[in-house]
Symmetry: C2
Subunit: 256 residues, 2 copies
């Protein structure tokens, strides 16, 4: 049975896109069929997977407002088993347009239903906000994976995110669980990273994955080559960490 | 005559809040009267300036929907001459509520009019999106200051941001100009930073400030002490860069 995981955090720049594309690549490498849904108007997930701009004419905006089916938007990537629904800049106006729809909270869930059974996992890359786009991801998802940057400002918003997930679970999606919290951009030279990491582990316990993603320059170089770091430099610390994370995520999934 | 500057970029985590609070502090240090408007539901600017949660009961959300006047929301900080309109989590639902108002694009501009003449500068810290909140900032502002992180993904969205500013200028706010683009989190050990910086200077020319903000751990430590880095560690490279940036911004302002 296929599963849908939303990669979400309203704090900006914490590694949502980097986590979504590398986790997806690692899962595709172990023969899982994966669909990445780019729900961020910036289209970083589409770019990070090498989807050209001419392949984004039909995108997640058109799927949400009902102009096209999800099948028409799906693009294959150079990675076997990994498909993408790209995003487009129109998406930044989607929130205001979605308000008009009766079923505005479930547009994504309904659109996904057509193809979800073709994939083992659907990963949704969310924008840095808790507006209608992220809410659509949370009502469509079975689980949420939360990247958390080891910085003070990033720690601040986490309780608001958890409260929002609880609210969606209670009112709209009883299935919804937090799959886990992954610490990102951990810099061992910086005491702040340690302090944030130990605070998070103390507060959230086992929800936090053992795998920690280190700050690693190869990770930030990969997008300019249109590849996930897993393909750009498999042996670097960033890639190795995402491979470990994928096995941890799959282990938790198998325990369900 | 007072001026309003929106600190905006839809890419997340590029240094909008850090730039807004440190620029404001540096300007207050040379006796300018400054109001910071926190328009981000995360409230990082409020936290970074030491505004307690009990001081945020009336915030930018209540001002935007018209429940309170801006005067009722203004809080003094421990920095002489620097006041703040804090934000609250209600703000994350504001975009959907604002859609109902006829004057939804100008709610902030109208609300600010009551007190804008009491300040030399109003700096607006925008959320990481180009939705109604940022559009309200762009119709209220005279100028936009764009922090641009020296990373590939951050480069991608810049043309969309510039097109949005042009569109707002043409349709709603003929005054609006880009005051400048500031390169942030520049890491001299990393070739990517150099590559991005030279691309940006080549494309935008003199719009880019000479001052470059280096990646500097003291900057990311300061928020946990509720202080801008300018007060937390005045001598560090990050603070020195923000002092230079403030003098560059004021120089450009005096040329108007
Ligand atoms: N482990 C890492 N080491 C170094 N750089 C990283 C790492 N993870 C992500 N980055 C870089 O940090 C920046 C932010 O990451 P990313 O864009 O994935 O975050 P995001 O949460 O998706 O941002 P947004 O909120 O804008 O969607 C990017 O330039 C990315 O390349
Ligand atoms: N020059 C710097 N050196 C090191 N860390 C920095 C620097 N500037 C900002 N940071 C840190 O990087 C993170 C992102 O910065 P900040 O929160 O200011 O960005 P933002 O654009 O306001 O993010 P958002 O899009 O979520 O509003 C913060 O944890 C901040 O402390
Ligand atoms: Mg992203
Ligand atoms: Mg911010």
């Amino acid at each position: 049975k296929s599963r849908c995981i939303a990669v979400a955090n309203q704090k900006g720049g914490v590694g949502k896109t980097t986590t979504a594309i590398n986790l997806a690549t690692a899962m595709a490498a172990v023969r899982k069929k994966i669909l990445i849904l780019d729900l961020d108007p910036q289209g970083n997930a589409s770019t990070g997977l090498g989807v050209r701009h001419d392949q984004r004419a039909i995108n997640s905006y058109h799927v949400l407002i009902g102009e096209n089916s999800i099948s028409e938007a799906i693009v294959e990537t150079s990675i076997p088993g990994l498909h993408v629904v790209p995003s487009g800049v129109d998406l930044s106006g989607a929130e205001i347009e979605l308000v008009e729809f009766e079923d505005r909270l479930f547009r994504l869930k309904t659109a996904l239903a057509e193809r979800i059974d073709d994939y083992d996992y659907v990963l949704i890359d969310c924008p840095p906000a808790l507006g209608l786009l992220t809410v659509n991801a949370l009502t469509a998802a079975n689980a949420v994976l939360v990247p958390l940057q080891c910085e003070f400002f990033a720690l601040e918003g986490i309780s608001h995110l958890v409260r929002t997930i609880e609210r969606i679970k209670k009112s709209y999606n009883p299935d919804l669980e937090i799959q886990g919290i992954v610490l990102t951009m951990f810099d061992s030279r910086n005491n702040l990273s340690d302090a944030v990491a130990s605070d998070v582990r103390q507060y959230f316990g086992d929800i936090v994955y053992e795998t920690v993603i280190p700050r690693n320059v190869r990770v930030s170089e990969a997008p300019s080559h249109g590849k996930p770091v897993l393909l750009y430099d498999t042996r670097c610390a960033g890639s190795q960490a995402y491979i470990h994370l994928a096995s941890e995520v799959l282990k938790r999934e198998s325990r369900l």
